[in-house]
């Protein structure tokens, strides 16, 4: 097992000597990304600020490389741990090179004059985050995405073992989110860094983290590898998301289902149903979905959005029973839609359902399918 870089013992954090979250036990190893998730105001930032000594602890201890951080000197900490926090920076007349160069602080002399070596390392850090071309630009005049990368270069330039990031991807568009996290992942691998950060984007947290910590109100509700934490049920509960749900497999959010007796029956499958479900959800029309194998692409979305869903066990042809239920449901609906175009051995019965609907004059079909909705 790799070395432990940062760990806490019965840590409690809070403001003005009042404990907000207690009993925090975290262990961060080198080469590992630990992510704090949880609702807004749950205390993710409070924990991070306490880890970096920005907030005094209300109890317990934080250990960096096995040494109690409270007893370590500023420079000792600075050489092992660096940060990228959410505080907005407006440094005056500083180029991106200047900003990145501040990472050399713990290594320069009394007056902080940069040596040739410091300059070289600064340029190297900028190159690592693909920002070497920004070196001479004014830091206040670059985009948010570029700024985060330069600040990451600054943090790397400090040559840390542990990197603490507070919501590094907020305010970034998807391209820059992915870019930043990809760079981070590379750094963790190539430099054996240990990273602890907070993330708002659950889908990204699920994919990048080796260890996930769920912060909820006054405690760490749960922690573990992402595959244990990211179940639809748990995440929905963690965030108290009453008006929708989180789909752990897809890492996607779904709004709440429209309640009431279904007015439309959608014959879907293989992804064809999803856009139709979403459209009815938006319009507030309760609908039924069927018949879907439980391993079908459409199934989780139908489950989240449809008033009723008729499903068959995975990897089986649609059976008599499911067919009868679907037919009965269709009977009660005024309209039937069939965005599904592929029929095979498994979903032969869906073809029969469509025929049934056509005979009843309820089927709306053709190229203007979406217009019909």
């Amino acid at each position: 097992m790799s070395e432990i870089r940062l760990h806490t013992e019965n840590l409690s954090v809070g403001y003005n000597k009042k404990t907000l979250i207690g009993g925090i036990e975290l262990t961060l190893r080198q080469g590992q990304i630990m992510t704090l998730i949880g609702p807004n105001g749950a205390g993710k930032s409070t924990i991070l600020k306490s880890l970096i000594r920005q907030l005094p602890l209300t109890g317990g201890a934080v250990y960096l490389d096995g040494k109690d951080m409270a007893a370590l000197g500023e420079r000792d900490v600075a050489r092992r741990l660096s940060v990228l926090m959410t505080a907005r920076l407006h440094p005056e007349l500083m180029t991106c090179f200047d900003v990145a160069a501040t990472g050399r602080y713990p290594y320069t002399g009394r007056l902080g004059v940069l040596s040739q070596e410091d300059r070289r390392k600064t340029m190297e850090s900028l190159e690592l985050v693909h920002a070497a071309n920004l070196a001479d630009r004014d830091f206040t005049r670059i985009s948010d995405g570029q700024r985060q990368r330069v600040l990451l270069a600054r943090a790397l330039n400090q040559e840390p073992e542990v990197l603490v990031l507070d919501e590094p991807t907020s305010f970034l568009d998807i391209r820059h989110k992915l870019e930043l996290l990809a760079i981070l992942k590379d750094m963790v691998r190539s430099r054996d860094l240990a990273v602890v950060m907070s993330l708002h984007e659950l889908d990204l947290a699920q994919k990048i983290s080796d260890w996930v910590v769920c912060v909820q109100g006054d405690s760490i509700a749960r922690q573990g590898p992402p595959e244990e934490i990211f179940t639809s049920q748990y995440i929905t509960a963690l965030y108290g998301a009453a008006r929708g749900s989180y789909n752990a497999l897809y890492g996607s959010l779904e709004l709440e289902a429209v309640r009431g007796g279904p007015q439309v029956f959608v014959i879907g499958g293989g992804g064809a149903g999803i856009p139709v479900y979403r459209r009815f959800q938006r319009q507030g029309v309760p609908f039924a979905a069927g018949v879907l194998g439980e391993n079908d692409l459409d199934y989780p979305v139908a489950l989240a959005l449809a008033a009723e869903t008729v499903a068959e066990k995975p990897f089986r042809p649609i059976g008599e029973e499911a067919f009868r239920r679907a037919a009965a449901l269709m009977e009660r609906c005024r309209r039937v839609l069939c965005p599904l175009e592929e029929f095979g051995e498994m979903n032969e019965k869906n073809l029969q359902l469509r025929e049934l609907a056509r005979q009843a004059g309820k089927l709306e079909e053709g190229a203007d399918l979406y217009a019909a909705i």
Binding site: I52, V83, V99, Y105, P106, L111, R154
Partner: protein, 335 residues
């Protein structure tokens, strides 16, 4: 990188030349015109108008102007606020109040006040005002609000000073009144010696703080993570900036706008805010600026002296206005 260093060196040389030039001009110009030969003679014999009146005054203008600018730069860094300065934050006025109190108590008992006790009084006043500003700064996170608070504190102090002056003996009033308007006149060589010591030491200490000051410009969070002992650093910065502005107030009264205008102009000249360049730059620039303003104060309506503050306000206030206008909506207050 190399040409940066060249530019910094060139800028410092330019400011030094400017300060020296103005220094000479100041010595020569005045209600009594004097030739170079006479200046040299006066200095050699250590007597005459030049030696006893003009030179100390010119030296005071240079030293105190420099001190005021550096004090402003330190305060701007501390509050992350480009329009912070000893005058707008009410720190000069606090010093003015305590100096007035010291003067009135001592003079009414017929005791001669030493310059040292004036400085000490001013320092106490500075620290009290600073204390109030710090209290306010915890509550208001917005840079313009902080300045408004400072101006309030300044006004309260000035009001109390006026009150003190009103009840002072007639013979003291003239003295006090002249001083409270701000002027470099009447400086003795002893005063110059004392201020040179205090300012020299404070300046050196500030310069040695260049590294943490540079880190602090990135904000407290990052500075701390870089290894700055924030608590100690904040105390050091407050003590130094208060000492510098207190020294100025003790010797020359409150002087407005130098502390904001000069650091801004110097940063513009060097196109950087790096303290290792800006601190010496501010000192030289502040010296040149105050020499220039004092020249005008002395000669514009000669033989009458104007108060130095009215001249510095004319040249400094527009810079401050420009600064406020160029910051959209007063952002960057606390970040």
């Amino acid at each position: 990188m190399r040409d940066d260093r060249l530019r910094y060196a060139a800028g410092l040389v330019l400011l030094t030349a400017l300060a020296l030039g103005l220094l000479l001009w100041n010595v020569g110009a005045g209600s009594v015109d004097i030739t170079l030969a006479e200046i040299a003679g006066s200095i050699r014999e250590m007597s005459g108008i030049i030696w006893t009146i003009r030179l100390p005054r010119v030296a005071a203008a240079a030293i105190l102007g420099g001190a005021l600018s550096v004090s402003g730069f330190l305060l701007q860094t501390f509050f992350a606020n480009p329009i912070a300065g000893p005058f707008v934050l009410g720190i000069s006025s606090g010093a003015k109040l305590t100096v007035a109190l010291v003067m009135v108590t001592f003079l009414s008992r017929g005791v001669v006040i030493s310059s040292m006790s004036m400085v000490a009084g001013a320092f106490v006043g500075s620290m009290i005002s600073m204390g109030f500003v710090l209290l306010m700064s915890r509550r208001v996170r917005n840079m313009s609000m902080l300045v408004v608070c400072g101006i309030m504190i300044g006004n309260i102090c000035s009001a109390i000073t006026d009150f003190v002056v009103t009840f002072a003996d007639d013979s003291n009033i003239v003295n006090l009144h002249n001083w409270s308007l701000g002027s470099f006149s009447g400086t003795s060589w002893d005063d110059v010696g004392l201020m040179a010591w205090i300012v020299g030491i404070a300046l050196l200490l500030s310069f040695l703080l260049s590294k943490p000051i540079g880190a602090y410009q990135m904000g407290e969070v990052y500075a701390q993570n870089m290894g700055v002992n924030i608590k100690r650093f904040r105390v050091e910065l407050i003590l130094l900036s208060s000492l510098l502005s207190a020294t100025v107030t003790a010797f020359a009264g409150p002087i407005s706008f130098v502390g904001i205008a000069v650091p801004h102009l110097v940063k513009g000249l060097f196109r950087t805010a790096k303290p290792i360049v800006i601190i010496p730059g501010c000192f030289l620039g502040g010296a040149a600026f105050c020499l220039f303003c004092d020249l005008i104060a002395r000669t514009a309506f000669a033989p009458r002296d104007m108060s130095i503050s009215s001249v510095t306000a004319v040249f400094g206030a527009p810079v401050v206005l420009y600064l406020m206008a160029s910051r959209r909506g007063g952002r960057g207050g606390s970040a």
